[in-house]
């Protein structure tokens, strides 16, 4: 059984449209960045193998649409997440203000077993813009907010200049792994167990 079992970490990336969710993922997974904006439709994931301490794990990174109208099938994919990344644009106040909503919405929809300690990570993206001159949300403010929500780790990033992206995702992987709960073991109901299990487990296959 252990031979096939790989650790799969499910990470959800949330935030307003245009903050750079897709760009961050692309930078992290494909080492690519484009200035063009292409709205994300629905949700989709990319996978990435990472080494956390001594373990090799697969991260399933779910990129989501920030535009509500492109999220028509709902957010069923939140379920089973091991970590949630909240992204805002340090140059746009509203995207920071909305972090609260994204967090709340996630906790309601994903209903993790221990919401108090569920791992989030906050990314303040686009710190490169205009040499930082057009920034409106200070690092201090963002850190204070992150701290107030249960000491969420906070990173300042630039998908464009690949600044802090790897570091952030490393922590994301690490915290997701800490959270990873043993997948609930499915036990077929009694009749099936009786019908199938004995024959299977009786013979020693080792």
């Amino acid at each position: 059984m252990s031979g096939r079992k790989r650790t799969l970490l499910k990470v959800i990336i949330l935030g307003d449209s245009g903050v750079g969710k897709t760009s961050l993922m692309n930078q992290y997974v494909n080492k690519k960045f484009s200035n063009q904006y292409k709205a994300t439709i629905g949700a989709d994931f990319l996978t990435k193998e990472v080494q956390v301490d001594d373990r090799l794990v697969t991260m399933q990174l779910w990129d989501t649409a920030g535009q509500e109208r492109f999220q028509s099938l709902g957010v069923a994919f939140y379920r089973g997440a091991d970590c949630c990344v909240l992204v805002y644009d340090v140059n746009v106040n509203k995207t920071f203000d909305n972090l609260d909503n994204w967090r709340e919405e996630f906790l309601i929809q994903a209903s993790p077993s221990d919401p108090e300690n569920f791992p989030f990570v906050v990314l303040g993206n686009k710190v490169d813009v205009d040499g930082g001159n057009s920034r409106v949300v200070s690092e201090k403010k963002a850190k204070a907010w992150s701290a107030s929500k249960g000491n969420i780790p906070y990173f300042e990033t630039s998908a464009k200049e690949d600044y802090n992206v790897d570091a952030a995702f490393q922590i994301i992987a690490k915290n997701a792994l800490k959270n990873e709960t043993e997948e609930e073991i499915y036990l077929p109901d009694t009749i099936d167990v009786n019908a199938q299990r004995p024959q299977k487990s009786s013979g020693c296959e080792c």
Partner: protein
């Protein structure tokens, strides 16, 4: 209804839970089989798991949950196939093998899963496998099942397309195969999605609503194909222009489904980059008028314009491309064409389209007033023949069209250059038009705008018509809210002070233009608008006076006074006699300052005529005479004859006031008319004394009258006041006012104060006491004043 829907939700939950349970169960066995590398068993259980996806009971969102669960499970299967492949099993065989699954839906899911591994193995060209899969998927024609199956295909194949620069390019095919594959999947998905609309009854409202809700939930599955296209490296501008966009648009237009059209247009705009839109505007816009009438094309086009405007705002260097591709011209033509093509388009949508276009211009080409005006013009043209627009939402949109330029430029002078601005404003009915006019004035006042060009002033008045006069559309003035009316007229009045030009000629033209406009306002407005006009004209007179000589035909103080005469006369005719009286006096004084005796005399004469004929209220008369004597006192232009006539009249009217105390005060005030401080002023001590004596007589009479009516002497206030006037003139050095005269008066007052019938009045007593103190003070002061006061005795 509510109860019903709760049950429906619960039912959905239950169905989903049941299905998920089966998936869990079957996948458990599938994984066990995988663990023991039992391919046949694994295929069996995975097929049994996938059978759950055949359900028709679940809503799209619930189906999506189930789909995701199976999706995750299929990853285990895929990993196993991958290993099998590594171990040397032929993918072609596997591909063959899974086709034995009994049921088509599980079979296709399995086939796609194997296909994924098959492509990766490169044992066969990617394009062939993809083509096969997309063709085979035709076998599922149930919309929800088909859409999810194809979205599985899309998801699995996304990183295996023979895209430019990808691993699968070359043997696996070219970008054209990739595009072809995605386009085909897109087209098929759209067809499935559109077909849903025609299942079930079109008439049953609840049925239709449920169907439309389901369709709306499914839309992202269809739209995502467009995102896949936009993410292909090989889809460069050329390919986008020549193939991708035309093919996508063809499908959008031909499907003739309003839900699909609106949504997919939105997707195209959002998923493809700005550069592409700029270079294909014509093609994209040409599709707009071809869409179904019910499509909310306004929002779509507004979305495009907003996106392009954001693009321009963030990258100013691309503005040259905007100009090069004539973005504005194309958008503008498209707006007109859409409005024309969609005859049933609600008016508000048509106007809103113009709002979107205007916002585009203001953000990308704020310096192009001609563009701004052309948007307004296009809207005016569209509204032609509709009369006044009254529908609330359309009105709001028109107001937006008018307010945006005001807000943007913060400068009415700029707005006045927009030829169509006034015409557009004229489409608004009375109330809104007025609101807009008020907004215009407020903007001027707030921004401190100065308008000094007569043509502009006239254009401005054109905009403010509804405030300035009774329009055809307006209710009668007396039915208006009086407070609002006054507020608006005061605004118009304040406006006058910013209509200034340093050149007196132009200034006079402006004032004359204003006069002409205000003249149309009717008596109710004139009382607000003419006084500031008089004030401004007098300011002009002062400037002309400073300027001195002028060339032939230029404006002179005389000309302005003529203008003033007419203007005040118009006020007198309203009638507003007290106001006109006051303004005549202002003019008179100004004329006097200009040394224009006949003109000053004429203004005084007009004032007196008004006084005689139209000022009847006794209080008003008192005030008027105070003003008159005050003005006359300051006036030195007159020769003896004119002066005598005027002062004679003033004293005459003073003595004729209704109440004795008023008479008394007016008369002693007249004493000032004969003793002017100015260098050229009259100094006629005798007539001063005559006035004071006359006042004293009246005060006596007043005292007697009081005795007769109330049996008491009344306060001695008047006497004390007269004493003060005497002292004033005594101080001024009027020889006629002698110490003897003063002494007599002092005794008179002392007798009055001590008489039995005297009324106690603390204020008068204090006044009296301080007057006496003044005298004592002067006496003690010594020097010249002390000498003069020496002879006066105070008890």
């Amino acid at each position: 209804m509510n109860e019903h829907s709760i049950t429906a939700t619960e039912e959905q939950e239950k169905w989903l839970a049941d299905a998920q349970n089966v998936v869990k169960q079957q996948s458990f066995y599938m994984r066990k089989a995988l663990d023991s590398s039992n391919l046949r068993e694994a295929l069996k259980y995975s097929a049994q798991m996938l059978v759950e996806l055949r359900t028709s009971k679940l809503s799209p969102q619930k189906y999506y949950e189930l789909y995701m669960q199976t999706f995750d499970e299929l990853r285990h299967l895929e990993a196993f196939f991958q290993e099998e492949s590594k171990r040397g099993r032929s993918n072609a065989d596997l591909y063959e093998l899974v086709q034995h699954a009994g049921n088509i839906l599980p079979r296709l899911y399995l086939l796609i899963t194997v296909g994924s591994v098959y492509i990766r193995s490169k044992e066969a060209p990617a394009k062939d496998i993809l083509k096969d899969l997309v063709e085979m998927s035709r076998g599922v024609q149930h919309p929800i099942r088909g859409l999810f199956l194809r979205s599985y295909l899309s998801q699995i194949s996304k990183d295996k397309l023979p895209d430019t620069g990808s691993d699968y390019e070359g043997e696996g095919g070219t970008i054209h195969d990739a595009v072809e594959f995605v386009l085909q999947n897109f087209t098929e998905m759209n067809k499935l999605w559109v077909r849903m609309q025609h299942q079930g009854s079109a008439k049953d409202k609840a049925d239709r609503e449920k169907r439309e809700k389901e369709r709306s939930e499914l839309r992202d599955l269809v739209g995502k194909n467009l995102l896949v296209l936009s993410q292909l490296e090989g889809v460069d501008l050329e390919l986008y222009k020549s193939t991708v966009l035309p093919r996508v648009l063809e499908q959008v237009v031909n499907c003739k489904d309003e839900i699909a059209q609106g949504y997919l247009m939105d997707c195209i705009i959002q998923v493809f980059p700005d550069e592409y839109h700029l270079q294909t505007l014509e093609t994209l816009l040409a599709a707009c008028p071809q869409l179904q009438p019910k499509v909310d094309i306004k929002s779509t086009m507004a979305g495009l314009m907003e996106r392009l405007a954001n693009y321009a705002a963030a990258n100013s260097q691309v503005l040259s491309v905007f100009a090069e591709v004539e973005a504005f011209e194309k958008l503008s033509t498209a707006v007109a064409t859409v409005v024309e093509a969609q005859v049933d388009m609600p008016l508000v949508s048509a106007v809103s389209l113009h709002v979107a276009l205007l916002n585009f211009v203001l953000r990308c080409h704020a310096d192009r007033l001609d563009y701004v005006d052309s948007v307004l013009g296009s809207c005016v043209k569209m509204l032609a023949g509709q009369g006044k627009i009254r529908e609330a939402k359309s009105v709001k949109a028109i107001v937006a069209l008018l307010s945006e330029p005001l807000a943007q430029y913060g400068d009415v002078v700029t707005v006045l250059q927009l030829g169509h601005y006034g015409q557009l404003m004229a489409t608004l009915e009375f109330e809104t038009n007025k609101v807009m006019a008020v907004l215009v004035i407020q903007s001027i006042l707030k921004n401190g705008t100065r308008i000094g060009d007569c043509a502009r002033v006239e254009a401005l008045f054109q905009l403010l018509q509804e405030l300035i006069r009774d329009g055809e559309d307006a209710p009668p003035v007396d039915q208006l809210d009086q407070e609002d009316f006054a507020e608006e007229q005061n605004l118009v009045a304040r406006l006058l002070h910013v209509l200034v030009n340093d050149d007196p000629e132009e200034q006079f033209k402006i004032l004359s233009a204003a006069r002409k406009q205000f003249g149309l306002g009717g008596p109710r407005r004139l009382v607000f608008t003419l006084p500031p006009l008089v004030v401004e004209s007098l300011k002009l007179v002062r400037r002309l006076q400073a300027r001195g000589e002028v060339e032939e035909g230029g404006v002179t103080p005389k000309k302005v006074f003529q203008f003033l005469h007419q203007t005040v006369e118009a006020l007198a005719n309203v009638p507003a006699p007290e106001l006109a009286f006051r303004l005549y006096l202002l003019c008179a004084e100004a004329a006097s300052d200009c040394d224009l005796e006949p003109i000053a005399y004429e203004f005084f004469t007009q004032a007196f005529i008004l006084y005689e004929e139209d000022i009847a209220d006794s209080k008003a008369q008192v005030t008027a005479l105070q003003l008159m004597t005050g003005t006359l006192q300051r006036t030195v232009v007159f020769g003896t004859e004119n002066r005598d006539t005027l002062t004679h009249k003033a004293t005459g009217y003073s003595a004729k006031l209704l109440k004795k105390p008023d008479q008394c005060r007016a008369v002693y005030n007249c004493s000032h008319l004969f003793w002017q401080d100015q260098e050229k002023g009259t100094r006629d001590g005798e007539r001063v004394l005559l006035c004071l004596k006359r006042a004293l007589r009246i005060a006596n009479a007043a005292q007697q009258q009081a005795n007769a009516t109330r049996g008491s002497g009344g306060p001695v206030t008047l006497f004390v006041e007269i004493l003060n006037k005497y002292l004033y003139h005594f101080d001024k050095g009027n020889q006629q006012v002698t110490t003897t005269v003063l002494q007599g008066l002092l005794e008179l007052i002392s007798t009055e104060v001590n008489s039995e019938s005297a009324v106690q009045d603390p204020a008068t007593e204090a006044f009296y006491a301080s007057t006496l103190k003044h005298i004592s003070f002067q006496k003690q002061k010594g020097g010249e004043a002390g000498d003069r006061y020496e002879a006066i005795k105070v008890q």
